[in-house]
Structures are given as structure tokens and as C-alpha cells.
Symmetry: C2
């Protein structure tokens, strides 16, 4: 079977099957980040978050995209994954794969984008490498940190949990796939306040990502209305992807308090109650406006 | 200026210039691994080692190489870097970039190679991702650990230090570029016994790597004889690269004790005294057998 017949998502799932157990592993493959205990630190204290993510020219960005934006995007995608676990990035390693006829100035601009985005969110680039390649790609590996008791995973949701999303969904192809804000402060705040029972970032679109969170939590879901980017159809809001907003499951008795405190903490960022998790895993109600997700 | 005019080594040096400072950074770019303090652990205890490394089809291996060997090589290259800092790998993330017409079985075999090599040396694969790409590549990011007081860097050498190498050099293209043994136990043993004042692994060949260690230590060097792989010329021994043996600088008063204890600890692995570091940085004497290194 070829990769094209299986798809990249199913491929990585198959490759990682049965891996990820080992001393100190708290969260293995299948969540936004891996989480491990720091050897020797015992069961308390802080957990390490580990994540690697690559953007490939022609797949994740067009060759014409300004290189500082390419760098910013590569860094912010990983920051968004850290935020989705309730953590903060700390150290990054950058791998640059480059055709030999790319210019040095191009890569310096990519690095400016990487470095600025990192600095803004407290991440230092501590190493990197370049390799010759026929296609351009940037891979960012990050180590982050989260207090062990505040780690939020995808599988923590329970029947009855209220589903929220930050910001507005849809429109990334036209607008913000390179300019999104990773929800770093919001993710930390939600974890610190123990509001989120489960969380992930919406990178492939709600129609692809909500089923992942629900499945990890062993639940079904029902979604009513959605906060759409102005001008976007419902199909775009659930299907465009690259929103990098947070999808959050919240225990019902905490939902009202969350909404009130959120308004004071993040007056300029929408937080919208979009639905609930349900006990029946076959309950999968998401208004799609005709969007069909082909995995 | 194009990447081809500058070369990948000079490119990464230029890109990383001025980066790598930040809270808790012990070793930034330019060594085998980055080393950072674990936030909140204070100045004592253990350091995290961070490293990412990629192998690209057609650049680091030929398409015909058995996929389990590709995976083994990708994992062992990073283990070798960890060993060169005196540390052990613990957790790895794997990025697979794949053309859509590669087979799923191919990548499963790559993963078997990765996983076996990791397990043998105590490394768990805790996550990964796949991305579509026009060219195949595998990137391994690893987090390792080393007691803070045993961390060995390239810059620790001093004039008078005796230079050693493990094993024998040369012949990798014909023989062992995919079958080398990362010197994990040896690296740990050297660090634990505080024998190594500076250390690195020989990945690009002694003619390229020794000048790096010497420059980092602010020294010159003079090398006499070299332990060659049987059948290899001197030019091959210094120039072939991909030896993944350890190059070690040792304070002169420790050299004899090291040789004696080494024989008991590693009876089947050669350790050869090859020369010395010198105060004059312009002293660069390495028998090359006619080999010329073009950076």
C-alpha cells in the first residue's frame, strides 16, 4: 500500500502504534505534545512537553510567502501545541532543509521570523542544523514545561462537559494561516485555573479535530452554533483548518464561572460555548454546512 | 548569495549567530547537543541535552538502503551526539517526510529500525508526525540527560591535553555508515570518570572535526599516527567521515590512568592516543595522506 492510499494521518497512527511506553512517559503519541517526567524529579513538580512539527514548501506554504512569515508560522504552530497542553515552550531546535539554489538571505529572513516569534513567547533557539535537500522545509522541535498537576490532555473529557472554542473559526486560507496568534496565555490561564478537562488546538479544522478529542475522551458530541470569522460560511468554519484556536472541554459546574472570569482576563478574545460531550460515542452532531472531511 | 556558494555548515553557523542565549541555557548552538537547565531545578542536579538531526534520501543514504538500516542510522546519529556530551538519550520524536508513492511497509520498516536502536539504548519514541513532501527524509529530535557536573563540551580542551580516539577511522562509505555503534557506554564512562576535558563525535571525518574541537578550545593541534580501519588509506581515515567514533581531549596527568582503566572497561574497543592540543592556534598538523577538506 502506498502512502497516498492510506493518508499521512493514518500512516503516523500506524507507525506509532504500541510505541511511547517507557520510564517517565506521561503522555505518548496521539496528543498535541508528548509529556514526560523529568528523570529523578519523582512524581511531583513539572512535566516536560515535547513536540516537533514541520512545514514543507508547497505543502504548508507557497514559495511566494514572505520568509519571515514562514519562520513565524513554523514557530507558532508548535507554540500552539504547547498551549493546548496548558504549557509554555522554552527551548527550540530548528532543522532547515534547503535546495542549494535558495538564497542565504531567504533563510536569514526565515530565522528572523522564527526568532521573533520565539522571543515574544519566551522560547530560545538553542540549536539547529541545515541539510541539503531537493525541497525546502523547516522543522521545529520544542521542549516546554507545565506543572504536572496542570497538564491538560485530549482524553480528559467526560459526558456532560461543555465544549468551548476561543476566537472565531474559518477563513485561514485567505487570511491568517501565517498570522495566527498561538493562544499561549489563554492555554496557561485555562490550565492554571483547572478549567479545562480536555483541550487541543484546532489545526485541521473543527470537523477533523473535535472527533479526535471526543474519541480520545470516549464520548460523542453535539455542536450547535459556531463563532465564524466574518464572511465565512459554516463549511469554511468547520473545514478550513489552521485556525489554531483552542477547543476546550469544561465540566458543567465550572462553565459559568469560566465565562465570567474569561471576560475579565481576555476582554478582546471571544470564548464561545459551542456544544457538549455526550456518553454515546456514536453521537456525532456537527453542523457542517455541506463540508465533507476526507481524512 | 546562494546556499550552494556558502555551504550548509557556514549557513547554519550564520543563521544561529547570536542565538542560544536565554534563561537556563548552558550550551547553545555549535556543540554536539544543546544543554539546558531544567527550569526550577536550580544550579545543581541534571542537565537536559537537546538534539535534532535529519537524514535525507539521496543525501545521507541511497534509496536502495534497507529501510530498517535507514531508521537505525537516523536514531544512532543522535545517540552518538548525546554520547559526545557524556549523556544518554531518553525520549525521541520522529518526523517522517514522505513522497506519496513510498509504501507504508517501507516506513514501517524504517520505524522498526528506529525503535530497535532506541530500545537498545534506553530511548522511547514518544511522538512523531508525517508530512507529505517531494523528497523522503527522517528527522529525529531527542531529549537526553547528563549530570550537570559531568557535562562534556567541545570547548573544554587546554594546551597540553592528550587527544584520543575510540575505534578505528575510515571506510564508512564501503562498510559501516549505516551499521556504526554509537559510543553510548564509552561516552558515559568517560564523563562519569571525569576523564574528558573536551569531546565530540567524528561525523564529518577527523580532518573536519578535530579543527572544530581545537577552535572551540582556542588551541592548535598536532596528530601523529591514526588507528585506521584495515585496508583504509590515511586519506580515507581522516576524510571519509561518518566514523561516529569519539574524539577526546584528556588532561596530561589523567592520560595514563585513562589508558589503563579503559582496557579493563572496554577490552574490545580500541582507544588510541593520536596527538596533543597546543597553545598556538595556528599549529594545525594532521597527516592527511593527500586528503583535502572542502568545507
Amino acid at each position: 500500500m502506498k502512502v497516498r492510499d492510506l493518508g499521512e494521518d493514518a500512516l503516523v497512527e500506524r507507525l506509532l502504534l504500541g510505541l511511547g511506553s517507557g520510564d517517565g512517559v506521561i503522555v505518548g503519541p496521539g496528543d498535541d505534545c508528548a509529556a514526560v517526567q523529568w528523570p529523578g524529579a519523582g512524581g511531583r513538580g513539572k512535566a516536560l512537553l515535547l513536540k516537533t512539527d514541520c512545514v514543507v514548501e508547497g505543502v504548508h506554504y507557497l514559495p511566494a510567502l514572505e520568509p519571515t512569515r514562514v519562520g513565524r508560522k513554523a514557530m507558532c504552530r508548535v507554540l500552539s501545541d504547547m498551549a493546548a497542553m496548558g504549557g509554555m515552550g522554552r527551548y527550540a531546535l530548528v532543522t532547515v532543509m534547503t535546495p542549494r539554489d535558495h538564497t542565504v538571505d531567504y533563510w536569514r529572513a526565515v530565522y528572523r521570523g522564527l526568532e521573533r516569534a520565539g522571543r515574544r513567547f519566551g522560547v530560545a533557539i538553542v540549536g539547529g542544523e541545515t541539510s541539503a535537500s531537493r525541497c525546502a522545509a523547516i522543522s521545529v522541535s520544542m521542549v516546554g514545561v507545565v506543572p504536572r498537576s496542570q497538564l491538560v490532555v485530549r482524553s480528559g473529557g467526560r459526558a456532560g462537559d461543555v465544549l468551548f472554542v476561543t476566537g472565531r473559526l474559518g477563513g485561514s486560507p485567505a487570511r491568517k494561516h501565517w498570522a495566527f496568534e498561538p493562544r499561549v496565555q489563554a492555554g496557561r490561564w485555562l490550565a492554571e485555573g483547572h478549567f479545562a478537562s480536555a483541550m487541543m488546538d484546532i489545526s485541521d479544522g473543527l470537523a477533523a479535530d473535535l472527533p479526535r478529542l471526543a474519541r480520545a475522551s470516549g464520548c460523542g458530541y453535539e455542536v450547535g452554533t459556531l463563532p465564524r470569522t466574518p464572511g465565512c460560511t459554516l463549511a469554511q468554519a468547520v473545514g478550513d483548518g489552521e485556525d489554531y484556536e483552542l477547543l476546550i472541554a469544561v465540566r458543567p459546574h465550572k462553565a459559568d464561572a469560566l465565562e465570567q472570569k474569561w471576560k475579565r482576563a481576555f476582554p478582546r478574545l471571544a470564548l464561545t460555548r459551542i456544544g457538549n460531550l455526550f456518553e454515546d460515542p456514536s453521537c456525532k452532531n456537527l453542523p457542517t454546512g455541506g463540508f465533507q472531511h476526507f481524512a
